[in-house]
């Protein structure tokens, strides 16, 4: 139990280090953030398709609103653990990290959270331009929506990070695990609401897509924020279930993987 205590005590310091690191590489981080332009590219296509009218239940303003929120949620829930773990396992850089009293995953989680303020700073001019272009998209959510939205984004953040942990740990068995993660991300793009809002998917696959983890990791919080989900509490519960499932998988794989890593003698 003292292990947990050490991790909690170290958290504030780790967060400070993480933030300082991001500030040190601010230009690089900003460029990384700006590369996630896909929501804007998709917005251009959808809004040209709607062409002043509506598409399904979406007007042009709805599209702007949807992809603006997607852009933000995608940024605040993104991580780089899968690349880092893959690299560290392949090159053996993980070994010295394991000698520390802190779990390297915990370290990465703190860095990821530490990057959040910078992400928001870089995003704000883009959002400002979108709101300047379409002032009517700015809506003030109700207190309940705000609260549920924050919880949903938090769950999506944890889920996305855990999924990266799982795919990163696959590197213990299979070195090209980053390629597999790309498959996951294509699924998130298509079935999770990244390039197409859930309601505009072919209606036969919508019920299935709604319970899959891809939606919980990205589309769900967007819908909660926009008050566009029939039952927000059910959405949150489903997200929590997926978090629990991936957390179990990650915990299991970490134990098994480390044993294998040691066995190779790297």
């Amino acid at each position: 139990m003292s292990g947990l205590l050490i991790h909690l005590r170290a958290a504030p310091t780790l967060l400070r280090i993480g933030f300082a690191e991001m500030v040190a590489y601010r230009a690089e981080v900003a460029v990384w953030i700006l590369t996630a332009t896909l929501p804007l590219v998709m917005l251009a296509l959808w809004s040209a398709a709607a062409d002043g009218g509506t598409l399904g239940s979406f007007s042009q303003d709805d599209f702007v609103r949807y992809f603006a929120v997607i852009l933000v949620v995608r940024q605040v829930t993104s991580a780089w653990l899968v690349w880092e773990l893959n690299y560290n396992v392949r090159t053996g850089a993980l070994s010295p990290m394991l000698l520390r009293p802190l779990n390297p995953l915990w370290w990465n989680l703190a860095e990821t959270v530490g990057a959040l303020p910078l992400r928001i700073i870089v995003l704000s001019p883009i959002l400002a331009v979108l709101i300047w272009w379409k002032p009517q998209i700015a809506l003030l959510p109700s207190a309940a929506t705000f609260f549920l939205g924050c919880v949903s984004v938090f769950l999506a953040f944890v889920l996305a990070w855990l999924v990266q942990a799982v795919f990163g740990m696959l590197a213990f068995w299979y070195e090209q695990s980053v390629g597999l993660y790309n498959l996951w991300f294509v699924a998130v793009a298509l079935l999770g609401g990244y390039v197409i809002p859930m309601d505009l998917l072919p209606s036969s696959i919508v019920p299935l897509a709604r319970v899959l983890p891809f939606h919980s990791a990205l589309g769900a919080p967007v819908e909660v924020w926009l008050d566009a989900t029939p039952d927000p509490c059910r959405t949150l519960a489903l997200q929590a279930v997926w978090v629990a499932v991936t957390a179990t998988a990650a915990w299991f794989m970490w134990g098994r993987g480390l044993r294998r890593y040691g066995a190779v003698g790297a």
Partner: protein, 260 residues
């Protein structure tokens, strides 16, 4: 003539280097196929709800997406690996060995490496263009030739842009991220350029002329490209090539190696 022999020799060495990694060639086949699906399927899903977008039908848009895949393939195959090698050379000083050779440094630097796995993107691009054409009246010979020429010219323009980005590495050293940003902007070329409005469209036609590489050849195949636009495409490419050449020479004259 000497340059042509040099190009052939460089291409052979690059191919031999790349052929060493056979397993990753196959893994990239899967990744390439999935990313193609990730690019084409959203288009199909949007067209599920409407017949035409910004004046383009689904099969017409497929032509643009096909050329976009070809562009991605060509850049990934031959442009991007070389230019990241140059950035690395500037940082580590390995560029010394290159500038000492009695040949044009830009030519050699641009042809050192090749990533053959990107051939899958090229094949996918050809497939998507053919898919689009299958539901459209077949283009005339002149139209097809114009499309090919415009696409190749556009590739040179893209190469010039990459060289410009790389040139900044002689001043700022660490610019590999900047090339990712360029990739992100080029991403906008996957849809017909009329999807974009106002200054965004202008930006994508003139500054980062990705529309020229993807939309113009598609328009040419459809017989809708005026001669004026074709000329404009060629002019933009030439201007970019000249600027990039000047920038390269200027940047090289500033190269101080890593140790001194």
């Amino acid at each position: 003539m000497r340059e042509l022999r040099l190009i052939a020799a460089l291409a052979r060495v690059a191919l031999m280097n790349a052929a060493q990694y056979r397993a990753s060639f196959l893994v990239d086949l899967v990744t390439g196929a999935v990313s193609t699906v990730g690019i084409v399927l959203p288009l199909a899903l949007v067209y599920n709800h409407t017949e035409r977008i910004a004046g383009w039908s689904f099969h017409e848009s497929l032509l643009v997406t096909g050329f976009f895949l070809l562009l991605q393939g060509a850049v990934g195959l031959a442009v991007e690996p070389n230019l990241s090698a140059i950035v690395e050379g500037v940082r580590s000083g390995a560029l010394d060995y290159l500038v000492l050779k009695p040949v044009d440094a830009q030519l050699v630097a641009s042809m050192q490496r090749i990533a053959p796995a990107k051939i899958w993107h090229l094949l996918a691009g050809v497939g998507v263009v053919l898919w689009g054409l299958s539901a459209l009246p077949s283009p005339s010979l002149v139209a097809s030739l114009t499309a090919v020429v415009l696409f190749v010219v556009g590739l040179f323009a893209t190469y010039a842009l990459w060289v410009l980005v790389i040139c900044t590495s002689f001043w700022f050293v660490k610019v590999d991220n900047l090339s990712y940003l360029l990739v992100a902007v080029v991403d906008a070329g996957r849809w017909p350029v009329t999807v974009y409005k106002g200054w965004v469209r202008l930006f994508l036609t003139v500054v980062i002329p990705v529309a020229m590489v993807t939309s113009y050849p598609a328009l040419a195949l459809l017989g809708r490209l005026g001669p004026w636009l074709a000329v404009q495409g060629v002019v933009v490419a030439i201007v970019l090539l000249v600027i990039s050449r000047v920038a390269w020479l200027l940047a090289l004259s500033r190269y101080t190696s890593a140790s001194s």
